[in-house]
Symmetry: C2
Amino acid sequence: MPMGKNDELESLRHQVRDVTAQIMRNVQQRMELAKQIGEIKSRLGIDVKDEKVEHDIHVMVLSLADQMGMGRDFALQLLNILLSESEQVQAQKRLQKGQKQTHMGIFLKAKQLEASGKKIIHMEVGEPDYPPPAAAGNSLAESFRLKQYHYTDTRGTPKLRSALAKKEHVYEDQVMVTPGGRFAVFSAITSLLKAGQELIVIEPAWPAYKECADFIGARTKVLRTTIEGKWAPDLKQLEEMVNPGTKMIALNYPNNPTGKVLDGKTMERIVSIAKDNGLYLLSDEVYADYAFKKFASVHEYGYDRSIMVSSFSKRYAMTGFRVGYAVAAKDVIDRMAKVQAVGITSVAEPMQHAALAALGEDPSENVRTMKKRLDFVCGKLKEMSLRFLEPDGAMYVYPELPSGEDILLVEKLLEKGVAIAPGSGFGDYYRQFVRISACQPEKTLEKGLDVMASVIRERA
Amino acid sequence: MPMGKNDELESLRHQVRDVTAQIMRNVQQRMELAKQIGEIKSRLGIDVKDEKVEHDIHVMVLSLADQMGMGRDFALQLLNILLSESEQVQAQKRLQKGQKQTHMGIFLKAKQLEASGKKIIHMEVGEPDYPPPAAAGNSLAESFRLKQYHYTDTRGTPKLRSALAKKEHVYEDQVMVTPGGRFAVFSAITSLLKAGQELIVIEPAWPAYKECADFIGARTKVLRTTIEGKWAPDLKQLEEMVNPGTKMIALNYPNNPTGKVLDGKTMERIVSIAKDNGLYLLSDEVYADYAFKKFASVHEYGYDRSIMVSSFSKRYAMTGFRVGYAVAAKDVIDRMAKVQAVGITSVAEPMQHAALAALGEDPSENVRTMKKRLDFVCGKLKEMSLRFLEPDGAMYVYPELPSGEDILLVEKLLEKGVAIAPGSGFGDYYRQFVRISACQPEKTLEKGLDVMASVIRERA
């Protein structure tokens, strides 16, 4: 073989091996240092993650990369695996917390209990009990007659995309139909972020944003909001959280679980923070129809790096049809479409046909029903003397418990046939909250809430 | 702040910064060496990827990791980003090849041409023209009547899973329903491999395996098969390709695009290679019904790390329903279900209901039709004096072109209203092949193949 004889090549390969070994030794040394830091932090009771230190090291790494002519993306990727491993080493013995329980986990448990014959009141899941539009139902048989059961364009059937573009006042190439809003979030986060880059999530929030970031090794930074602060994000803090590795802010308004809607001024400032730092702004607006005060979609702010996510699930109670969509600039949709092509080819055509049929229907009756139910839930929670903010929108109320951990109450209630969602499913810091979904008739909600009241009284 | 005053912590943090900078300098040095190696290789005309050198460095890194007490997964992840970046640096100027064109790309182009009024003969896509079972059609309206339009268990409705478990002679917790076979492949690869670990693919093959590995930063090693070798994999070569970073072998039989079916002895040896090395064996068997010689599913070989992927798309011509499934050990299904929960929540319930209705139907008429069409295509290709192997199964023929690149012929034919798939979509080394899909009636196939024959004659 010619290469075996090439001394230069052999010598270079030796050098590569040596420098690889040197890198590993240094990395190991770094881990040892991280471990020592972890031990000291543990003694001092300091959080493992330190935003300031992390920010500084990002700045150093990027400036060093620039100096050496190393690609910034690559440098961040390298830094990320070092940081992630350090955190793990630091946190190893301290964090013995069990598997996090989310509303979906409780829902699946409740479904299993039902399958075994137990009656369950579902106040854990965001699945309205009222039916989808009849037009959607009628379209199902029609889709078969019309032979609409083939692969479609990855981004959706031309008809549905065109109808959505018209509804959203954008071009067709700015729209992609997805299997539920969830896959729109998934494809946005996984196509726009790389391993090591950062996503900022304002909590409490639907857990999917963090899950998607975790999935590709991106990092999630959490901006915590509080009930005392009326669930409004501290924008100064938001601004300070952005570092050179930050790529996206995820917004989730009307918020799941709190029902918060941001005012226009706050949205403008968030958009301007995103613009100043070249960040993507992912706005999950699946509850937009259920806004009981003025709500403007992110794409009314005219920012070309915003991605709006919507869905047929909540608006039309079509959860099981699994049809959602994203609206963004063409180049962003192009990137998201690649993820969709790799993962699922295209959305089931009969489901797209049903979504198109539903699109002409008026959801305002659903919205009125939901508002009435939320008012009812709020009244009951007041009777229980629980602290909460009346929701500006969405389908949930997020009360604080007087004592004890969310998960204990959730499990106790499940035993009694009432499913609610643990608050900590929406952020680690919310173990004293629970989420009540108002997707059942008032009579059912009343029964469930009465059981909840009596269990809370017993625990007091 | 207390930590500012802690000198020990400050000193450790300084050391972390210094060692981080040192790591980066070494990494940069490694890149420079890689670049020099790339230049020499370029001069000598050697491939950028060198399996032997790569294998050696894997062994070195893992043994060093063991010595130092560094986690093996972490060490491989680190090595991977170094290797990937080196390859990119080496290949940067040499590989100027355009975007790879796959059968799906041609399909979407053809669809666009159709939308603009052009008539297209579809011999590029694996979508049978015969209809799905009437039972599946009838079930659609029924699903609405029965209110089967809700979120379901992530793994599928209890009824469908139970029916699939019965069909496949496994337990229910060994089955997961997915939105198409593609998502079963996606969730298997992305849940079982980490960034830096390796997947072996036997090419030519459906491109999805490599795409899914790319998606999470896993590496794909290609075992090339040839028409001269009757598309059979060289098992000695397969064995030699396995290194400590290898985690999975992807099988795709009956093969898309060649139609090859492996004999039992070959399968046994592959299973034993997987077993000896603790590898997952992903067996994509969506064409199993269309096997014209004896075919045994991977799970008949009793290997607990095998994952069988199947689908309703080809068997029942239900492509647009997007229902597939995976069969594997419970712990594997558990991991795959996590990906499904993050990406899509659950499969559309009306589509699962339709799949259940179809499951009782007999697909043998479809299989007879396909066999007849494939024979017809083979006859026509013989008339053109093209070299190919008669398919043992699936829905395609994969002939070799007498001259010229696949993509030139494909584009020429598309201009003339005939869509076929470029061979290189199934592996970089197959630019002299094309794939003909037999999913149209013989008359249509005849027209398309006549156009192909005349274009090839002109080019000769």
